[in-house]
């Protein structure tokens, strides 16, 4: 279970970072979303992976799951969602105003395509 989660986190983060470094705003949005998914699951696992254990003290139970990371991840999800929505709106506005979806606001000029 831990190995599976850790591998999934690693792959998601790697994909997120790769997309984040692309030149188009849409890839950047996707990259940031993947990164925030990975972060959210990471927060969750930091409370240790347990199954079938209650988060609240009950008589006759000796194993518990940590409720705090669940509260933290909820906050992080809400904030991440809001930020992604904002960034999407910003990207659309930047595309409308500049006519380019490149993160620098203009199409990059390749040396070989430059007119002499």
């Amino acid at each position: 279970m831990e190995f599976l989660l850790a591998s999934a986190l690693g792959v998601t983060t790697a994909c997120g970072v790769y997309l984040l470094l692309r030149g188009r705003t849409f890839s950047v949005v996707l990259g940031l979303s993947l990164l925030s998914y990975a972060v959210n699951v990471f927060i969750f696992t930091m409370g240790r992976v347990t199954t079938g254990a209650p988060p609240i003290v009950t008589t006759g139970v000796s194993t518990y799951t940590d409720p705090l990371p669940q509260a933290l991840v909820l906050t992080a999800i809400v904030i991440g969602f809001g930020m992604t929505a904002f960034f999407l709106a910003l990207a659309v506005r930047a595309y409308r105003d500049s006519g380019s979806d490149h993160v620098d606001g203009s199409e990059p000029v390749h040396p070989e395509k430059r007119s002499p």
């Binding site: 984040l20 705003t25 950047v28 940031l32 990164l35 925030s36 990975a38 972060v39 990471f42 927060i43 696992t45 930091m46 409370g47 240790r48 992976v49 347990t50 254990a53 003290v57 000796s62 194993t63 518990y64 799951t65 940590d66 705090l68 990371p69 933290l72 906050t75 992080a76 904030i79 991440g80 809001g82 930020m83 904002f86 960034f87 910003l90 990207a91 506005r93 930047a94 105003d97 500049s98 993160v103 620098d104 606001g105």
Partner: protein
């Protein structure tokens, strides 16, 4: 409990919500409400400073949940001073915005209040996750404020600014949850205790989390090599927003100072010497490169933005190289630099507006309509920011240089601080002579001259800078006491979670009995 402590958060939060309701159709009312709220927050800040001067820590347990289980707000000398400084800069920026900028987009005042709430919260909170939340509050407000007025340069700068800060937030969360996973707490005082007692096996993880945290704070503070977002963002923001942003890099510096002195402040244990090997070189590099940036800037806004980065470099140099006296000097410098950089951003806009199509580019443009007044303001600001006598910058740099004198790094610190001061002065003088003297003979008659409502906040900020010189001794006494309080962390820990030592320095593992 002292409810005054929560006021710097509660007042802007309520005002912001109120302003959202009335901003669209009643611009005048929005102005008055926003100004009144900011003034009341400033009055509260003065009271808080007076309380903090007694030397005790004030702890406010939100909802009466005891630390470390609930969130606490902690007031010490440092937080009180920074909240007052924020209020002063905010008043000036708001007064300037009311002279016209606030009507160029909806909800300026609401966003302004949320920004203040985020900044004050970051300065007050004693909980690491709560610090993240307040960072997000101030960031989302700053994204919208940066876009205020729109236009392509702002949109482009905002895309970069938002992307880097969202990435930073992700790393912040990883670091915070890693610390939680290893130590089982998020309260900073409690963390400080547990980090010091961490078993051998956890030390590497704790140090990794600490470095990630400091990396995130370095993004906010704009340290080398993470400052490249700043010049474009700050120079494209409208003047009152850029003036308010002068305090934002200081939030990063504050966080570095708080976390290194409190959580990773022990002489032994996992946090020992976490930043020692690299923070000083990085701070010096930041300072040197920023000074070169000032010299190479082609626009006035960019030049002032590089001055902001230079101020961060100077502060962190002092904090890492000077011990108690260095921290005191850095705090004095923090107050001085925030005020002067805010005034420079306001001045940039006044100058730019009278230069027609040349804008703030450092090229020959139309003559200014008010060359004498603008010239005097520019002269005072440049002398202050470069640290030439008799300005407050000179006193602050003197304190910093004296503090680092016996240390092994003194050669580097002295030479880089002095050389960069010279470069900043040269850069400022070059810009000033280009803007004020090397002009065409006729002014641009269509340009709008600066009005009294715009001179007032600029003048007030410059007068505050002069007041720092006149009242340097009381301020120095205050920063000395602040530095001592900050570096003696036992008092903070005791005030927040009581004197009983923590005997269980790690969280429960799954399957372990309660």
């Amino acid at each position: 409990m002292n409810h005054l402590l929560a006021m710097p958060l509660v007042i802007p939060a309520i005002t912001g919500a109120l302003l959202l309701a009335c901003a669209g159709n009643r611009p005048q009312a929005a102005r008055w409400i926003s100004a009144a709220s900011t003034a009341v927050t400033a009055a509260v800040a003065v009271l808080l400073v007076m309380q903090a001067m007694a030397g005790d820590y004030q702890v406010y347990a939100v909802g009466e949940w005891q630390a470390p289980f609930g969130i606490v707000l902690v007031l010490d000398r440092l937080s009180a001073m920074l909240i007052l400084l924020t209020a002063v800069v905010a008043l000036a920026a708001l007064a300037y915005a009311i002279a016209g900028w606030d009507l160029r987009g909806r909800h300026f005042h609401a966003l302004f209040q949320f920004q203040l709430m985020g900044i004050n919260g970051a300065f007050l909170t004693g909980d690491l996750f709560n610090l993240f939340v307040f960072f997000e509050v101030l960031l989302i407000a700053s994204y919208c404020l940066l876009l205020h007025g729109l236009g392509q340069p702002r949109l482009r700068a905002a895309v970069h600014y938002v992307a880097i800060n969202l990435t930073g937030s992700g790393v912040f969360l990883i670091a915070v949850s890693l610390l939680y996973g290893v130590t089982g707490t998020l309260n900073m005082a409690h963390l400080a205790e547990r980090v010091a007692l961490a078993p051998e096996a956890d030390i590497a993880l704790i140090r990794a989390a600490g470095m990630m945290l400091l990396g995130v704070f370095a993004v906010k503070a704009a340290l080398f090599p993470l400052y490249f977002w700043l010049p474009q963002a700050y120079s494209s923001a409208c003047a009152p927003v850029a003036a308010l942003f002068a305090i934002m890099t200081k939030v990063g510096v504050y966080s570095i100072l708080r976390v290194t002195s409190l959580v990773f402040g022990g002489a032994s244990g996992a946090g020992a010497d976490l930043t020692t090997p690299w923070l000083l070189p990085v701070a010096l590099l930041t300072l040197g490169l920023a000074a070169l940036g000032v010299l190479g800037a082609r626009r006035l806004g960019e030049l002032v933005a590089y001055m902001t980065i230079a101020s961060v470099g100077t502060m962190l140099t002092a904090i890492t190289a000077g011990g108690v006296a260095g921290v005191s000097g850095a705090l004095f410098y923090l107050v001085h630099s925030t005020l002067v950089i805010a005034s420079l951003f306001l001045l940039t806009e006044l100058l730019t507006r009278q230069r027609g199509s040349s804008g703030d580019a450092l090229v020959t443009g139309p003559a200014l309509q008010q060359p004498v007044l603008l010239g005097i303001a520019f002269l005072i600001a440049t002398i202050t920011v470069a640290g030439a006598p008799p300005s407050s910058g000179f006193l602050a740099k003197l304190m910093i240089l004296q503090a680092t004198l016996p240390g092994p790094a003194a050669v580097w610190v002295w030479s880089i601080i002095l050389c960069s001061s010279l470069l900043v002065l040269v850069g400022g003088v070059r810009a000033g002579s280009q803007l004020l003297w090397h002009t065409e003979t006729t002014p641009d008659h269509n340009a709008r001259a600066a009005r009294p409502a715009e001179w007032l906040p600029l003048g007030a900020l410059l007068v505050c800078g002069v007041a720092l010189v006149l009242f340097a001794q009381p301020l120095q006494k205050y920063t000395d006491a602040t530095a001592q309080q900050l570096l003696a962390r036992a008092g903070y820990i005791e005030a927040v979670i009581g004197g009983t030592p923590d005997t269980q320095p790690r969280p429960l593992r799954p399957g372990e009995p309660l």
